[in-house]
Symmetry: C2
Subunit: 585 residues, 2 copies
């Protein structure tokens, strides 16, 4: 049995390579980097195996192949003809040179996907690259459309929008002398991305995330994507895996796609044959990062589907260069002050405006909570961008879009429990439970909303609750007592119902109304008027994933046990008659 | 405003330094390492600032101080007299040279703790180091006791147990010529550890973990500690913070302590003024690792208490050198096949038997689940150890201690839901709910246990459920229907009660018995016989921390909506009379 792991030869030494080497260092796998100078990747791997040269240079690539067991890339703009030669000479190249060559040419990439029946926007090749030809295509595809260079296009460079026939001349003149094609405008509501891992015998995928671009550069990644139904999520996973299955070789692939405004149609935008900006979040949010997955895939080490699942939702924010060479350090400083933010700086030296200098990932229990916590940094990023592109200083952003919910006055944390009452007359019943939430330090919002008198408000609140970071809803109602059950109908969160004793029937009316929910919409009902137990049940539910709260539930039970044992001891000591006197019996 | 971060000078270049530099690389903070040769730390920081020399060498330490803004250590066996000199010359040393000097000498360390009223085992100094002196101490402290070298003691070296007066001569002869003290034997049931972060104005702590030693070397860390009450946990946190508050300077400190067999008494064992083996788990299990916390503390960058909380329970296993220089690679290979295991190899080259070559951290939803998943690796580690110490090949270990629970036949995952029935006659009622759990792919165990006929089994099951990885209990009962409520009394998990309709009273008896629980012990009651809603409620509860399950709950609701709308459409199209015919009305 050979014990040694293969030596990896890496074409390109930027931040993607740096994070790949971070993963390689942990496994003690040697990576030889081919790039010019002291690139970010080389700085964290001190050995003599690196090569100083361009990743498009024949002799350098050959030298890298000779000193490594398997070649891979962290950028696709390499010389695939040399890769083809070294592969023919018996060197391993992952993914294959054919895959890299096809993906380099976006037109070829689209043709390959269409052949495999993978959905992409309609497109047509420009044979001559003339205005007449583009006008004719515009008539067929309709406006707006996007004129694109087949090759050497990234971060918005090499693309030109054509809003109407009037834009044809400027588009052609901007991209002249390049190989071109035109693409139907994707009228999307959202951009999604999926990192796919292709091993020697499997095609696995990371969760579906949402990407937000600004100035044609990826700015934010929300993991998982916000407000995407389970159907769309499954469709995106399937589409991404089918797209990557078209290509030969091993490694991770970044698949970017559009979700159109119809809310149903997904189209592949483009594919990268390597780790991708939209997958940075995996370092913290998943048990195995995209970098380790890439390394394992190209080295034929095991990759488990389970390791690609998300362990915590996350938001990723790129740190870009600003107006002066140190602007990005202001963002780093602010990120250092964000509790629990994971910062990755790429050690690129001085920044150019818009250059990717690092990124920050914030994980929280929900995407909404991460988004809310990130807001101060987003404000600063907007200010740094304003300096850079010489636009007016933006106004401080308003409160973050979600959650609008506040906990009790003086508690700055986003609430995790919502306590709803059909009427303020229920507050007397609910006070004991609210005291428990306070004692346990569980942030909560208390609202008055009625299923019958404010039906729309109730529905909106329950619908938005999960996205606002609420994890459990407690609802109290008397009489017909529809509020708890109706809330349960509008949310997938656990809802606890407290039947309140109204003027007649001793609360049995409310109890029946709450507990006898139809099959399909569950409601956790507690005893009549027993808000204490509703709060304790909410704490037990939160305790499933929060050890601190679970500890408090245990402590509460220990205290109750001590109290009852103390009473028992006292009655045993003083006798039941004396004891009764103390009780005023 | 100066934008640059301080350059850190690190005495020692082993694995702790390596993981510190991994954190420094992410923040783009430069760390100059003082150690001999190409030590593990230097290998991941390629720059000309490292110094080739011993961390006990005066000239080397002075050179390091001259080229760095702040000095710190990854090992405490440094020359504190030189540190004192450079500190007097105005260089920053964190933690202070006084702290390192005090901690180097375990006797001085104990004296310092005792002075601050921090609990330690009783001890006495040996002034002369003679047998007579030790015998006299033995008479006073009692046997067994531990004879300890004040200095240069680690991983069991420098300690000698003295079980009775008969062991006095061998103990003295083994440790002769060393400065000695004797310590009362700590009759402990468990070893606990807490990593403490001391910043310029705060003393913060990571969670309390459990450490397991073998051959006097740390083998396993369970985070959080298993079966430790919230009271002991709070006491351990308090003790650790008070202990570290005794020392001056900034950085992280590893605090090891004993929990004695009385289940109440905690005694400090020893303190390390640096990152510690018992804190490796923080890399994956917390949002900020002990390494980043150390770096931030010594550089006066912000450390938030929130970032030290555990985001996922974990088990850490050290990978030690075995009989041949490559034995540990077998363990690494096996770890690569464990889904989601995070592997850290230290790049130390060939191994010596028992040398720390790397470690593996496995995070899961519960410690029990991580422990169960780690079992194959523990078996292999036992086999590699057996080769190393030349003992008989151990038998394959029995099934892991917890969880004993199995999901349904054919499902290898540990169950997250337990479905309990007071009698098999309840199965008919429960089948619809069990089908929902299956449809959602939620692993579950189904058991028959009666509050009245098997009261002890019921109590034991409910008591152990949380530690076995169960997250929600569903219990069904008819008539007096005590099972769900009694389960809730024995656990801090959320319990869902299903009232079953018995022969009389239409199930109202069971409903009242379940829903009307006393204040303090909550039970989530659903409608009579409505096991579907019990299962859906369990799914909603799991969905609070599991996005995949939440997605399935949404999908279920979407399907139900589609079904009702389809029926509505059909009735609208064909008319109510035709529709009624289809229903056989």
């Amino acid at each position: 049995m050979s014990e040694a792991f293969p030596t990896v030869g890496l074409l390109g030494g930027g931040q993607l390579g740096r994070m790949l080497i971070e993963a390689a260092n942990r496994l003690n796998i040697k990576v030889n980097v081919l790039d010019t100078g002291a690139s970010p990747s080389k700085l964290i791997a001190a050995h003599g195996g690196h090569i100083d040269g361009k990743f498009t240079d024949r002799a350098s690539i050959q030298k890298l192949a000779a000193s490594s067991d398997v070649l891979t890339v962290e950028i696709e703009h390499v010389d695939t003809h040399v890769l083809e030669e070294v592969a023919r000479d018996g060197h391993k190249v992952e993914p294959s040179w054919q895959t890299i060559r096809t993906i380099q040419d976006k037109f070829l990439q689209k043709q390959t996907l269409v052949k495999a029946d993978v959905a992409v926007a309609k497109y047509e090749e420009l044979q001559k690259g003339t205005e007449e030809e583009l006008s004719a295509i515009g008539d067929r595809l309709g406006y707006p459309l996007m004129l694109k260079s087949k090759t050497q296009a990234y971060d918005g460079k090499g693309n030109h929008p054509v809003y109407s026939a009037a834009d044809v001349p400027s588009a052609i003149s901007t991209l002249k002398d390049r190989p071109l094609y035109a693409e139907q405008w994707a009228d999307f509501s959202m951009e999604l991305a999926v990192m796919v891992v292709k091993t020697k015998d499997q095609v696995l995928s990371y969760p579906t995330v949402e990407t937000v671009h600004e100035d044609s550069i990826c700015k934010l990644v929300y993991a998982p994507a916000r407000n995407v139904s389970s159907r769309i999520n499954a469709a995106a996973q399937d589409l991404a895996r089918r797209a990557v299955a078209c290509f030969t070789g091993k490694g991770v692939f970044g698949v970017e796609m559009f979700l159109l405004r119809d809310g149903r149609t997904l189209l592949i935008n483009e594919i990268a044959p390597r780790p991708h900006n939209s997958g940075h979040y995996t370092i913290e949010a998943c048990r195995m990062s995209q970098y380790e997955a890439h390394l394992r895939a190209v080295c034929d080490l095991p990759v488990a589907a389970d390791a690609l699942r998300m362990r915590e939702p996350a938001v990723m924010l790129n740190i870009l260069g600003g107006a002066d060479p140190h602007s990005h350090l202001r963002i780093q400083r602010a990120a250092l002050a964000l509790p629990g933010a994971s910062i990755h700086m790429y050690a690129k030296g001085d920044a150019r405006p818009g250059r990717k200098m690092g990124h920050v990932t914030l994980t929280r229990d929900t995407v909404a909570a991460a988004e809310a916590a990130l807001q101060p940094l987003l404000d600063l990023v907007a200010a740094v961008r304003a300096e850079r592109i010489d636009i007016a200083q933006p106004k401080p952003s308003p409160a973050p879009p979600t959650p609008q919910l506040r906990a009790q006055p003086g508690d700055a944390r986003p609430p995790s429990v919502a306590v709803l009452m059909g009427s303020d007359s229920d507050l007397k019943t609910m006070t004991a439970g609210l005291d428990v939430l306070e004692r346990f330090g569980i942030p909560h919002t208390v609202r008055i909303t009625s299923a019958h008198r404010t039906p729309t408000v109730m529905a909106d609140f329950a619908t938005a609750a999960a996205a606002s970071g609420i994890k459990v809803i407690i609802a109290a109602a008397g009489g017909a007592a529809h509020l708890p059950g109706m809330c349960a109908a509008y949310t997938s969160l656990p809802v606890i119902g407290v039947p309140v004793k109204a003027s007649v029937l001793d609360g049995v009316d409310s109890l029946y109304s709450e507990v006898q929910m139809p099959r399909g919409v569950p409601l956790a009902t507690v005893g009549i008027g027993n808000s204490t137990n509703a709060a304790l049940l909410a704490a037990r539910i939160l305790g499933v994933s929060d050890a601190e709260i679970r500890g408090k539930v245990q402590g509460y039970a220990e205290d109750a046990e001590t109290e009852v044992r103390g009473k028992d001891q006292r009655m045993d000591q003083v006798g039941r008659q004396e004891y009764a006197k103390g009780m005023g019996i």
